[in-house]
């Protein structure tokens, strides 16, 4: 440890607890991986108990590893495309250097993916289109670029709050991070609460198969910020945060650049917008876990109610929106809510960004109408499938697993409900027939188990139990009869604290329903016997 460096750095670190994660990140980058001594040094400097800093450090995947560590993505798409072999190869060639297998790195369009420090391999290319709402086809290098394409029009026009609510409601825009809460209602609810209020942008994109927020931030960061500034103005917040996942290094640079631009243009006068960088924990994408993380504690979800719109960051009303959600707002205000809603198809409202990866020719992120079918997305945007399609995950790990029969189902919440699935974050992952749904499911449950925060029993143990049941089944053994598996799934869905544990049963139940033969050994579900 370079003590001299540490001493100078410590003098520079703010002591408020909300800076803990940021401080630890800086110590990691400038001094080295956080070991017990560094953890204690930060704790003593910030006047926090050493044990509590230890708890925070150990919660995140990356604070204890060097910044140049090699990370091999073992998310489902990478796994399907040979990540395990790649990991073994990297470990062999690593010459003693640490090589980590990590959960989805958010570059599924390039799978299989390795990150050496901040550098992504293979080289990043964006495959996207010029949709009417986000127009990702051309990247904005500067604010001038952004303005030249009609950017800032909504912010400059400064519509009345009442009109904004009207447009948001008419647009049908609902949270695009996965939970799908109507955005207009959320904005209205937070604005009604007693100030001070905060805005937090959820840029902790970690849902396997989901790359859309990265595309927005890497290509059109100003677009997200325009949405964010509109939100801040709407709820009269002077402080706002963007919580960005650590793995998105390019997005980090782009966001900081865009913030500089906005600052120079005077658009941040009287406002304080900060970037908070995570440290490797999927669960921090859960909104209350994110708030805990921002407040310098372990990223463990809070009990709800109360909801963040009432009791959020530092106990104040907080508006939390996903990156993509905010990116659509300028277009909604410029086009008008109804016109934007009319961009949808088959009765669905508006458009969204679809991350399409796996066994397709042109994996990428495409804007397409809500209500599109998987076939339209795969053939119309992603260049068609490379292989016979065996299974499809429509929207991230907890959204479910669909059979090829579902290729022509309109991807809306209601239509998918009939299939027992959800639309989630619209991270469409296409798997070939050679990749068994059983393996996909086992990997999904392993992911949930690994990323559970541990706080509640049904999530911490339930997911590991389900992974065990599937791993045993792959070996032809029955760890638990179907009836009991269903009891566990029900307990997970009903009694888990947050969406991670509550959502984990969906892919299991989907797979039971669509591939019953694979699970026949577990016996019959009592309900189906009756």
């Amino acid at each position: 440890m370079d003590l001299l460096k540490l001493t100078t750095l410590l003098e520079d670190l703010p002591r408020d607890r909300t800076h803990l994660l940021d401080n630890l990140g800086r110590v990691r980058r400038e001094v080295g991986p956080i070991d017990a001594d560094l953890s204690d040094a930060v704790a003593d400097h910030m006047n926090i108990r050493r044990g509590e800093v230890d708890e925070v450090v150990s919660f995140y995947s990356f604070l204890c590893v060097p910044t140049d560590v090699v990370r091999v993505c073992i998310g489902p798409v990478c796994h399907c495309l040979g990540a395990r072999d790649l990991l073994a190869r990297e470990q062999e060639q690593g010459n003693g250097k640490r090589v980590l297998g990590v959960e989805c790195l958010g570059h599924c369009d390039l799978a299989p993916v390795v990150m050496r420090g901040d550098r992504v391999e293979p080289e990043v290319v964006h495959r996207t289109n010029d949709g009417p709402s986000t127009a990702l086809a051309r990247a904005d290098e500067t604010l001038t670029d952004y303005e030249a394409r009609g950017g800032l029009a909504a912010l400059r026009e400064a519509p009345e709050p009442a009109r904004i609510v009207e447009d948001l409601k008419a647009s049908g825009l609902a949270g695009l991070g996965g939970a799908g809460f109507p955005t207009g209602l959320k904005w209205e609810a937070v604005a009604k609460e007693q100030g001070p209020r905060y805005v937090v942008v959820n840029a902790d994109e970690g849902e396997p198969g989901t790359i859309k927020d990265r595309y927005v931030m890497e290509r059109r960061p100003h677009l997200m910020f325009e949405g964010m500034l509109l939100a801040m103005r709407f709820i009269e917040a002077t402080e706002g945060f963007v919580y960005l996942r650590e793995e998105y290094a390019t997005a980090r640079t782009r966001l900081l650049g865009a913030l500089d631009d906005l600052h120079s243009a005077g658009l941040l006068d009287g406002l304080d917008v900060k970037l908070v960088v995570g440290a490797g924990a999927y669960i921090c994408g859960e909104e209350t876990a994110m708030l805990e993380s921002m407040e310098g504690r372990r990223g463990m979800p809070r009990l709800k109610p109360p909801f963040p719109s009432q009791v959020g960051y530092l106990g104040r009303p907080t508006l939390i929106n996903n990156v993509e959600t905010l990116a659509h707002i300028p277009a909604i205000l410029c086009l008008g809510g109804e016109a934007w809603a009319a961009l949808g198809t088959r009765g669905a409202q508006g458009v969204r960004l679809w991350s399409i990866s796996g066994a397709v020719r042109e994996p990428g992120c495409y804007e397409a109408p809500n209500g599109s079918t998987l076939r339209e997305l795969i053939d119309g945007h992603a260049g068609g499938a490379t292989d016979e399609v065996g299974s499809i995950v429509p929207g991230g790990a907890a959204s479910g697993i669909l059979p090829p029969d579902a290729l022509d189902v309109p991807l809306t919440r209601d239509d998918l409900r009939e299939w027992g699935a959800g639309i989630g974050s619209a991270g469409v992952q296409v798997f070939p027939t050679s990749y068994s749904p059983l393996t996909l499911l086992a990997e999904t449950m392993r992911f949930f188990a690994e990323e559970s925060c541990e706080k509640c029993t049904p999530c911490r143990i339930g997911n590991r139990g389900m992974h065990h049941v599937l791993a045993e089944l792959e070996r032809g053994r029955v760890a638990m009869p179907r009836r009991q598996v269903e009891e566990w799934l029900e307990a997970m869905q009903q009694t888990s604290i947050c969406g991670l544990g509550q959502g984990a049963p969906f892919p299991m139940r989907n797979a039971f329903r669509h591939w019953p033969d694979l699970f026949a050994a577990l016996g019959e579900h009592e309900a189906s016997v009756a």
């Binding site: 044990g51 706080k455 590991r464 638990m480 009903q494």
Partner: protein, 357 residues
Amino acid sequence: MSPPVGKSVTFTLDGRRAAAPEGELLVHAAARHGIFIPTLCHDDKLDPYGGCRMCVVGVEGSPRPLPACATRVAEGMVVSTNSQVPQFQRTLTEMLLAEHLNPNPGGRPNELVDLAGDLDVEAPFILPDAKREPYDDRNKFMGYDPDACILCARCVRYTQEVMQCSALSLEGRGPHARIVPTHGYSWLDTECELCGGCLSACPTGAIYEKFEEGTERPERELKKVKTTCTFCGVGCQLDLNVDPETNRVVKVTSEPHYVSNEGNLCVKGRFSFNFIHHPDRLTEPLVRGEDGELHETSWEHALDVAANGLARVRDQHGPQTIGVLASARLTMEENFAIQKFGRTVIGTNSIHSCEAT
């Protein structure tokens, strides 16, 4: 626990109308109405946590059941403990048992095992990654077996919320989560003062007393004798746990409802009881005879000898040649009487107590 004073509200509990002070935790309100809701991570000394989920109950209007240990009674609330709740309790118990490798490391009561017995539930399997890294501590008083831990974090929260110290940490995430003294150090290398409060908060006995004597017999078979701690004037109430066979004190416990200490003890009160049966302990007054040896005698005779000796020294050499040393183990009233004795009876100002150092 007595209910908080405040406005009374009426709510429905399993179809019956019930009254409770507004804001009372559901788990307490239900208990007062005769409905026992099991809890593992709940501790009245700590802020509601809602982690183990054992206490979930149905609440009308909520899309999912809510933890009774963290939900407060409100006017008109409709609460149900009978629909899906019993099955949730059984399943959650199964889950906890699936990573509960060592249910009885130190003979302390294990609430999870009790619950499993009550519900007649067994582990369907043991998780392949249930085994945790063993932990060995060089301190003499407390042992810890991570394999008996259910991660309810009562111990960690006790250190943070009650003792305000940094001794234990909930480290890691997901399957790698574990509770250890901070950084996995020995307790002696943390801020720990070995008060044993974490031990008393642990529902499964994962943290336990590390004595050569008394660990073979489960705590429940010991006879409890309630008494007042003799170590200082605070007057903590505690239970001496006596092995009924040997009639020896083998451990000290305390209960949350005991006055003045609420079940909390310090390192002396909880662990330093071996003087009771120590062979060097004086149990009778002794007076040195003309032969130069100490002889057992009566209190009356012993006090006479002491009084005569003190009076002789005072009369021959003056009162300032006598000093009075009081003990930290005395009460305030006793210490007052001693200094009074020194100043007025003997006439010295040389009075000291080891509390002052």
